[in-house]
Amino acid sequence: MTSIEVKQNQDNACVNLHGVYYRDLNTRLCELVNEGTRSLELNNACGQRYIGTSLKGDVKITINGTPGNDLGAFMDGPSITVNGNVQDCCGNTLNNGRIVVHGHGGDIFGMSARGGKLFVRDYVGYRAGIHMKAYQDKKPSLVIGSTAQDFLGEYMAGGVLVVLGLGLEENETHKANFIGTGMHGGVIYMSGKVEDHQLGKEVAKAELDESDWQVLRPLIDEFALHFGYNAEEIAARPFYKLYPKYLRPYGRLYAY
């Protein structure tokens, strides 16, 4: 096991990730959390996978650098702030907690999330929000500042996905095609231009009503707070919502 440089101060800890192998790191992080550390600052992150995987409880983690794949996978409660970009699979099957990315995200961002909140300042890769689902009081939210790549919200079964379109040029359309393919639950709120051919065939488009704004506005406010935007300006942008045309898109495929 590599030695890990940790500076502890009451329930805070500062960890230097330079040259640290992920398995050793996560073992150490678990120990620190079990010992009662409630606030962790991880510096010099460079591709370490699985940071925060399966962590539980009220823990705040700040990561400076670039964490690796599967950041916060299966996580159940902690809040992670990343000052940098994140790679693939961030928030994989997230159960609860918050991940705030001051940068951009990789592919399958928030895959299969069942709860919690995810905020990305810039753009994300392919298949963001794929198969997000909601259950009882659990309702995941994923807010993307700029735009996303293809298959955004594919198979979406629940939760809220927001794409703000910030930074798109005038008349520039969003990058994603096949948006919401196979969607059968949840809702996507978008601002910025999307052509009809970019939408999955199971998706319908509509204006927002009062109840939509009750969901969207707090998310815009939180996004603005995290990244220093003016919430009023974002909320003044034209938004539309995408929702599933059918709750059972594959109900009529079978003979017997």
């Binding site: 995987t53 099957t93 399958i108 895959m111 259950y135 079964a157 017997y256």
Partner: protein, 500 residues
């Protein structure tokens, strides 16, 4: 539209035995029997009968006979009645033909072409009634070699192992596809017999947490019910990539089956379709698989072995090698005769390869590459009796999963109506009136009896070979001979022809 489909079965009622008790009416979940008040007679809708024999079994006077409809088409080796009727169905609906259970076609069953050796004169056989016989099996990654410290003590640094008392486990069958009472029966039987049952991909019902030491929890493409507590409720975590009945495709649990309780364990709202995508979208390569394997190891803090389950397909040996190198501790391979709660018929009957060939190919490949010790090999897909189990272990399996055989022990008559959700035996349904038909205590007893019977038979066969531990049989293909097999088949199976 008028259906051109003839009845599959004819139900004959022997009138002088019938006491009009109406048991047949209440037992049939397909509305085949009905009471005609005008005639004071119980009558039959033959077209509804699926041949499940529920009414026959429960008729107190033995008044019912169910037989095949003797309807004779003009003889045609190409256009069998099944082919004709399938076309009728699709012409009437325009849909994908859906079916349940495993492939029912007459594809070669290699178990029946493999024969087991026994000792005669030159080495003595052993009588298991008086001598100890060892069936204990350990699943998990085994060390490359024993290492010793400076004092000569053996260094124990073994990856997590799971001990099973018999080399038999229950296949993955999800809650939602099968009922909670069936899950409880399987879990209790696994506990009684010191082996494992598998949740399938539908999550674990909270009332079954007491069986956690005998539970394999599954993570599949839908990620239903997958969260921290669930992952840490199993002795093994299994990543499901595919299953033998429907390699390469996902599944749709229709909203009708997502009852209040099913919604609790799947963690989705009641009445919504549970769609399992065909691939896991975080796994597009062996490297990605490795990422999920280690993700689950992290999530379980390296306490449990991780299994990866795949369907037996053409390049299974190379794929299995990749899975082992990706870090899996157990590779589970499901052959083309493996069953399902619902699959497109064309896929069930045409995709995949027999488990016997896949097993032999995988075991040989892992040995050639010197990595066989790195993972245990578990196989499934149409295992019918202890003879099949015995041959599988001789071909190289560490353990065998049984699914169909377990359901048959609970009453399944293989009527292949699993996808309708109307299982009259109360197994493959979430209809609360039907699920009551399985009593978990009796179910567990029946399943334990089956495992006990097979264990005794396996010990008998081991004794006959002159060995006293299942470990001595494992991968020992010299104990097998083939009959009626081509040279190529014998080569793949790695066995000699009978007489050689």
């Amino acid at each position: 539209m008028k259906t051109f489909l003839p009845s599959k079965f004819i139900v004959d009622r022997i009138e002088d035995r019938c006491i009009k008790c109406k048991v047949c009416i209440t037992q049939c979940s397909f509305d085949t029997h009905y009471y005609d008040a005008d005639d004071d007679q119980i009558k039959v809708r033959n077209q509804n009968c699926v041949g499940c024999h529920r009414c026959v079994t429960f008729c107190p006077t033995g008044a019912l006979v169910v037989r095949n409809n003797p309807l004779e088409y003009r003889q045609n080796a190409n256009w069998t009645p099944e082919m004709i009727e399938d076309i009728f169905k699709q012409a009437e609906t325009g849909g994908v033909l859906l079916t349940g259970m495993g492939m029912d076609k007459a594809k070669p069953i290699y178990w029946d072409k493999l024969l087991i050796n026994a000792s005669q004169v030159t080495n003595p056989s052993i009588d298991p009634l008086r001598e100890p016989m060892e069936l204990t099996t350990y699943l998990g990654r085994k060390p490359e070699k024993a290492t010793f410290d400076k004092c000569g003590n053996i260094e124990v640094n073994v990856a997590p192992q799971v001990k099973i008392d018999v080399p038999l486990m229950f296949s993955a069958m999800s809650y939602g596809a099968i009922s909670l009472n069936v899950h409880r029966s399987l879990a209790q039987a696994a506990k009684n017999m010191g082996t494992m049952w598998n949740t399938g991909e539908g999550g674990l019902h909270s009332s079954l947490m007491e069986f956690k030491d005998n539970t394999i929890v599954q993570v599949a493409s839908g990620r239903y019910g997958v969260q921290n507590d669930y992952l840490n409720s199993g002795r093994i975590v299994e990543i499901k990539i595919g299953q033998g009945a429907k390699p390469g495709i996902g599944g749709h649990l229709p909203g009708e089956k997502v009852s209040a309780d099913v919604s609790l364990t799947r963690m989705i709202p009641m009445g919504t379709d549970a769609i399992s995508p065909a691939p896991q979208h975080d796994i597009y390569s062996i490297e990605d698989l490795s990422q999920l394997i280690y993700g689950l190891k992290e999530a379980t803090r390296y306490r449990v072995p991780i299994s990866v389950k795949i369907a037996a397909v053409h390049n299974v040996a190379a794929i299995a090698s990749g899975i082992v190198r990706a870090g899996a501790d157990i590779v589970t391979i499901d052959g083309m005769r493996g069953a399902t709660g619902a699959a497109p018929k064309v896929i069930r009957d045409n995709v995949g390869i027999p488990i016997e060939l896949a097993l032999a190919a995988v075991d040989s490949r892992l040995r050639e590459e010197g990595i066989r010790n790195q993972a245990s090999l578990v196989i499934s897909g149409g295992i019918r009796n202890s003879g099949d189990v015995f041959k599988a272990i001789a071909l190289g399996a560490d353990a065998v999963n049984i699914g169909t055989a377990a359901l048959v022990a609970l009453g399944c008559h293989l009527c292949q109506q699993c996808h309708t959700g109307k299982c009259s035996w109360g197994i493959c349904t979430s209809d609360l009136a039907l699920t009551k038909r399985i009593n978990p205590e009796i179910g567990a007893k029946r399943l334990s009896n089956l495992l006990r019977g097979w264990s005794l038979e396996i010990k008998d066969m081991l004794g006959g070979l002159g060995v006293n531990a299942i470990e001595s049989l494992r991968g020992n293909r010299l104990h097998l001979r083939g009959v009626g097999l081509s040279a190529e088949e014998l080569k793949i199976l790695g066995v000699r022809a009978a007489g050689e």
